[in-house]
């Protein structure tokens, strides 16, 4: 790689480039060594730490729910609410990592069934609470039952939006069961990523040899680039566009993620922080370092960095609750500006970033049919 770069520099320096045929786009593109380094760097600096944090949060949440429910009612459940927020914080940094262990056992859906366009969570929850059936909470049956009531959105309703259920012992049992379920899912995610000879981290690290998951190291890097794009896409399409609509009067605040716990914008803030870390971390092996080594990469890097910074600054000046933000004077416009920023980031990552690194994230290649 280094040699090739020097060679290209040498040609350019002599001005020979002008008389030669234009170089094919892949001439300066990263090679398998670069991609293998990228995969290792992001595993160590982003992926594994995030799953570790998620597993810790899952364990705390389960403990808190158990303690709050010790007297048979959720009551104020202050400790549980705090633990719920910590769990959401951790999940928001991993929500967009939709490959490998998160694809197994419907873990991502079971962790957070959202967006729930048909209102399944509310319906199923009401049904269960109206006909309390302890057998429905039997661990295996619960984990293999409806994904809509076994994760974070159902717990959020119980903790923040169902005062009538708070004193019902069955609601408490359900909350504890959800906590145990979330603890089990997050521990399973971490174990599958980190532990044992078939750990997914090892699969990712060894991708350059070709394995059942990845054709080569580049394909594993593509998966990471897709995760970066997914983080931005989910924010634009689901977390902002579906809520804001095209005009103030079309806004639908109850479509926001986590509106009941008043943390919709906090979620987005963490999503963007995680996306930026995925882009920026990894030292000399990371995406941004790799990008800066490409011709025209430094300029693109400056642009991407600037939009990340600008967007996060805008978010830092908004309340955590999107409902509140929308009630503020000019709130919709401010959120709309955030949407435009993240859309711009999405376009930069899907377009020039993907092209310069030769990691196809195009309209047809990203999510085909």
């Amino acid at each position: 790689m280094t040699q090739r770069r020097q060679f290209l520099g040498f040609c350019g320096g002599l001005g020979l480039g002008l008389t030669l045929r234009p170089l094919p786009a892949f001439a300066a593109a990263p090679d398998q060594d670069d991609f293998a380094e990228l995969n290792n760097a992001l595993l160590d600096q982003c992926l594994l730490p995030r799953y570790e944090a998620l597993a810790v949060a899952g364990e705390s949440l389960e403990g808190a729910l158990r303690r709050d429910c010790a007297d048979g009612g959720l009551g104020g459940a202050e400790e549980s609410k705090k633990a719920f927020h910590a769990m959401m914080d951790a999940w928001m940094a991993a929500q967009h990592l939709r490959f490998g262990p998160s694809e197994l056992f419907l873990r991502a859906d079971r962790m957070q069934f959202w967006p729930d366009k048909r209102g399944v969570t509310g319906r199923r929850l009401s049904q269960l609470l109206a006909n309390p059936d302890p057998a429905a909470l039997e661990p295996q049956r619960f984990a293999q039952g409806s994904v809509a009531i076994q994760g974070l959105p159902a717990l959020e309703r119980l903790l923040f939006d169902m005062p009538e259920a708070a004193e019902q012992p069955f609601a408490c049992d359900l909350a504890v069961r959800i906590g145990e379920n979330l603890k089990e899912i997050s521990a399973g995610l971490l174990a599958d990523w980190r532990d044992g000879p078939s750990a997914y981290a090892a699969v990712l690290r060894n991708a350059r040899q070709g394995d059942a998951e990845f054709l080569d190291a580049k394909e594993a890097s593509l998966q990471l680039a897709k995760s970066l794009r997914s983080a931005l896409l989910i924010v634009v399409d689901f977390k902002l566009q579906r809520v804001l609509g095209e005009a103030v009067r079309n806004a639908k605040p109850k479509r926001a993620e986590s509106w009941r716990s008043g943390r919709s914008l906090r979620n987005i803030e963490i999503n963007l922080e995680a996306a930026q870390a995925l882009y920026q971390n990894g030292g000399q092996g990371g995406f941004s370092a790799l990008l800066r080594r490409q011709p025209d990469g430094p300029t693109l890097h400056v642009e991407i960095e600037a939009v990340f910074r600008r967007t996060r600054k805008k978010l830092a000046n908004l309340p955590a609750s999107m409902t509140e933000a929308l009630e503020e004077e000019g709130g919709w416009q401010r959120l709309s500006a955030v949407r435009d920023d993240v859309s711009q980031l999405l376009a930069l990552i899907s377009g020039p970033f993907s092209q310069m690194l030769d990691l196809p994230l195009g309209f047809n290649s990203f999510d085909g049919d």
Binding site: L106, A212, S343, A347, Q355, P360, N364
Partner: protein, 377 residues
């Protein structure tokens, strides 16, 4: 020889085209010759009419991301003379369908799949144009169906036929005007889980021949057991009913498997022997398939590999490839070895395989992305 509207495209570009009967046409090609769904700047979705001059035809907004389209032929053969209408179907798991008057470039009508169904994005008309057949998901039943719509009565849904498999995707009508051939991709999805694949362990794709009147299964072909993760997704059918298949592999990534298949009459599916380097560059994924007007050449796109591959349909073997970043949409462009090719980066051109020549129709505007499929008119 039946003259297709697109055979006049060559004339429109100032190149003489000689038909089988030895006639030369000298008509300046105006009016749409193909259509393709697109994503436009600002996240809008649309369908664009493609003329001989490029993508400067009408643009019709869509309520969401479109996918494939079906052409209900009008009476005219000369561009501008009653070209008929086109139905654009929503990409899964969408439920909308938009009927467009091709000549006027405007929406004639909209309709939807029933609540308990969604479209897979492909459809085809009966030969008399009265019925539209569209692949759909009976998601709660976990089975594929073919919705039948009455084009003469406001696209009222007449009923549905079984697709005889899970995850039906592209389908075509055979020359007898009675049999439908359906690519049942085998992958189960449910709108509540977005586009997630729910049954990879038990996935079993097939190619089914279905009676378009009774829905009866006439013939069904599967892949060998060890290739059950090879999804049969897209197909192209020649005038004499040779079926070409473009596949997507959900199996182990380090096991290269053929991605193009051929099937006709009562014989089993024959997978094309393909050089390993080509398979590797295709990245286990084909996006669409099209035969040229002669039926001799097959084009198969591999958008994840940024390749368009070309195959001999008669000899069932690999011929050549070109690089097209995020290239996916394909349609015959009139003449031997000529294809429309579109890309997610907004490119649209005609590729002449026998001359190895590209003729740009549209250079691409920032923000324009062509979706997976093109439909030639």
């Amino acid at each position: 020889m039946a003259i297709s509207r697109r055979s006049l495209l060559t004339a429109g570009l100032g190149l003489p085209l000689v038909g089988h009967a030895g006639m030369a046409f000298a008509v300046s090609g105006r009016g749409p010759l193909a259509v393709g769904a697109s994503a436009e700047t600002g996240g809008r979705f649309a369908v664009r009419m493609i003329t001989g001059q490029g993508a400067d035809g009408d643009i019709v907004d869509l309520p969401g991301r479109g996918h494939g389209a079906a052409w209900r032929r009008g009476a005219g053969v000369i561009p501008g003379e009653d070209p008929g209408e086109v139905v654009i179907l929503a990409r899964r798991p969408g439920r909308f369908a938009v009927v467009i008057d091709v000549a006027e470039g405007r929406v004639k009508q909209r309709f939807e799949a029933p609540r308990a169904r969604h479209f897979y994005g492909h459809g085809v008309f009966s030969r008399d144009g009265r019925r539209l057949f569209a692949t759909e998901n009976d998601f709660d039943g976990g089975r594929g169906v073919i919705g039948v719509y009455d084009a003469e009565n406001g696209y009222r849904r007449l009923g549905e036929l079984p697709s005889h498999g899970i995850g039906p995707h592209e389908l075509a009508l055979l020359s007898d005007g009675r049999r439908l051939v359906v690519a049942n991709g085998g992958i189960r999805t449910h709108p509540d889980s977005g586009r997630r694949k729910l049954n990879l362990a038990t996935m079993a794709p097939n190619l089914a021949y279905v009676d378009s009147d009774s829905g009866a299964l006439l013939q069904r072909f599967s892949l060998p057991e060890d290739l059950h993760l090879l999804s049969i997704r897209h197909l192209a059918v020649s005038r004499d009913d040779a079926v070409c298949l473009a596949l997507q592999n959900e199996g182990p990534r380090n096991r290269l498997v053929p991605l193009v298949g051929f099937q006709r009459d009562g014989t089993e599916i024959a997978l094309a022997e393909t050089p390993a380097a080509v398979l590797k560059s295709m990245r286990h994924y084909c996006g669409s398939a099209a035969l040229d007007d002669s039926g001799r050449y097959l084009a198969v796109s591999a958008p994840r590999g940024g390749r368009i591959t070309f195959w001999s349909a008669k000899e069932r073997r690999y011929l050549a490839e070109i690089s097209v970043a995020d290239g996916c949409g394909l349609a015959p462009a009139g003449g031997v070895g000529r294809f429309f090719i579109s890309s997610g980066q907004g490119r649209l051109f005609i590729y002449d395989l026998t001359r190895g020549r590209e003729t740009a129709l549209y250079g691409g505007a920032p923000g324009l992305a062509w979706d997976n499929h093109l439909l030639a008119l």
